[in-house]
């Protein structure tokens, strides 16, 4: 009985040791194999010398020395392992994960190709980028985002009702962008072009959280996704710019000017594909690369706080009222968006259980100073909305956004304060932000669907 149990127990111990080794990032499966063979050699020799398997195992492990030292030595030779590598087609070591991520790659490529085709389909009906710029401006997100949503819905295994809801919303978006008789130079065209992407992006969000759309955690994941997706898109845009520049100049050098190819095919097609590819990259590398958005937030929160406080001090010092011109409201809306972004991406990377620290206080200072500035702006602007310029779709939309962001940030400041005073848990702040997402969606849809008729297509 014991003779039978001995080897089994020893195998279990080897397995346990192996798991322990594999937890080290510096040590990979092949290293674990090699070291395990070493350990077994050592154990065999000790058993041959008369030790029991149990004792032999303990002595052999002890001889190998601490795993910390071992991994440090391995790290010196294999320093590249500390840079997490993005493996495009999944872990080759596990066949299940491999086929899954390869299928993922193909679906993504299909969706990206679909986005590229969608961009070029209107050209078949005689709509060109040069002459129908307003059509493309209104519809650009409608070419790419449905494909991104399709990819995400596929990944999440969305139910039919969710897919139907996604389809209905995208059709609604297409109707809003094209059914109203909006003149190319009207304000409503601009307002729609700005708000439709927001509305559609939140539809993509619905696809993202398709498996559990009520969950606050999943919505927070979507916020993280948005930040990383945007960063990838910007990086790809930079790369695309370099590619086009090289393409243009090298071909120009041999007397061929590929201007039409670049502006008609490469840029629009590449942009549409990049939207899908960026989404795929974020999904693929989720656990591979450290998220960038929270790192940037950490860097810029103190700087923005300092800038806003300096501005407030300057306003009080010079007692110079804020000069509210035509664009001012939009500028301060953007300021609130930036502050909200800084808040959101710090939240997204924070350990919910960690106690309040100095960074939370810094954030409170940031939010409060942004609120103070915005209140000053609103005071200046009151009354002007009803003057002879008043009542334009631009101003109504900007004012609406200001109110929405103000409410969000004011309540966030309150929650942040009670968190710092340890009255409420951190989760309350997170739930408030994720619960607020539908408000943005509702407002964006109102602007897109209701504003044009409300302002008689001005």
């Amino acid at each position: 009985m014991t003779a039978h149990e001995g080897p089994q127990e020893l195998e279990a111990q080897f397995e346990q040791w192996r798991q322990y080794v594999l937890r080290r990032r510096e040590l990979q499966a092949v290293d674990a194999d090699e070291l395990e063979d070493h350990l077994r050699g050592s154990v065999d020799e000790l058993v041959a010398a008369g030790l029991s398997p149990d004792e032999a195992f303990l002595v052999a492990v002890k001889r190998m020395g601490s795993l910390d030292d071992l991994s440090r030595e391995f790290a010196r030779e294999h320093s590249e392992r500390l840079w997490k590598q993005l493996v495009l087609t999944g872990d080759s070591g596990s066949p299940v994960g491999g086929t899954r991520s390869r299928r993922d790659l193909w679906v993504m490529l299909g969706c990206a190709a679909g986005a590229v085709v969608s961009v070029k389909v209107p050209a078949l009906f005689g709509l060109s980028f040069a002459d129908d710029g307003s059509f493309y401006a209104r519809n650009f997100t409608l070419f790419a985002l449905p494909w991104l949503a399709a990819y995400l819905a596929w990944r999440r295994g969305a139910r039919r009702t969710v897919i139907a809801a996604l389809a209905v919303l995208f059709v609604l978006g297409a109707v809003a962008a094209n059914a109203y008789p909006l003149a190319d130079d009207s304000q409503s065209v601009v307002v729609t072009s700005v708000h439709l992407p927001i509305a559609l992006w939140l539809v993509v969000g619905l696809a993202y959280v398709a498996d559990d759309w009520r969950s606050s955690r999943r919505r927070m994941d979507f916020i993280r996704f948005t930040g990383e997706w945007f960063i990838y898109l910007v990086l790809m845009a930079l790369g695309g710019g370099v590619l086009s520049a090289f393409l243009f100049n090298t071909f120009a050098a041999i007397g061929i000017v590929p201007e039409a190819f670049i502006s008609q095919w490469l840029l629009p097609g590449g942009a549409a594909a990049a939207v899908v590819v960026a989404g795929w990259l974020v999904e693929a590398k989720q656990s591979v690369v450290e998220n960038i958005a929270p790192v940037l937030t950490r860097l810029f929160t103190p700087l923005f706080t300092a800038a806003l406080l300096a501005f407030l001090v300057a306003v009080v010092w010079t007692s110079h009222g804020i000069d509210v011109e035509r664009e001012a409201l939009l500028l301060f809306d953007l300021l609130l968006v930036v502050v909200l972004g800084l808040l959101l991406y710090s939240l997204s990377a924070r350990d919910p259980l960690a106690p309040p620290g100095p960074f939370d206080k810094l954030q409170l200072a940031l939010v409060v100073s942004a609120l103070a500035i915005d209140v000053l702006v609103l005071l200046e602007i009151t009354g002007r909305i009803t003057d002879e310029y008043g009542g334009t779709p631009n101003r109504a939309a900007a004012l609406g956004e200001n109110v929405i962001l103000l409410v969000n940030l004011a309540w966030s400041a309150w929650l942040l304060l009670s968190f710092i005073r340890r009255r409420t848990p951190f989760a309350a702040l997170e739930r408030w932000q994720t619960g607020y997402l539908p408000v943005y969606a509702a407002w964006a849809w109102i602007v897109v669907l209701v504003f044009p008729p409300l302002f008689s297509f001005a």
């Binding site: 070291l35 070493h38 020395g65 030292d69 071992l70 030595e73 391995f74």
Partner: protein, 121 residues
Amino acid sequence: MKVAKDLVAASATPMVLGILAEGESYGYAILRRINELSGGELDWTEGLLYPLLHRLERLGHLESSWQAVAGERKRKYYRITDRGLAELAEQRRQWDTVVGALKEIWHDRAPLTVHPLEGLA
């Protein structure tokens, strides 16, 4: 007596290449062989041996293959390449120089008590 760490590290490459020049082998056996050759005075750890083997493989001095031993057990065998042999020859030349110089010095030093007299003469 224990050999100092720096010296162990410096002599590690020619030692491993030298052992593998005798024929292909694997980690545990190499470690045993070094132990045997030095009468247990050279204190090699796994943290020294395996990263070194991987480095020599990366540099093309060694090549490796997994071979099945005793059922499901796999073992990674290392074999020296032509490059490795060339490196070994070069290392050997350098070590011969160092060892030769040291021997000279210690040989001269042995009659240390005689030399000062010669100097005075």
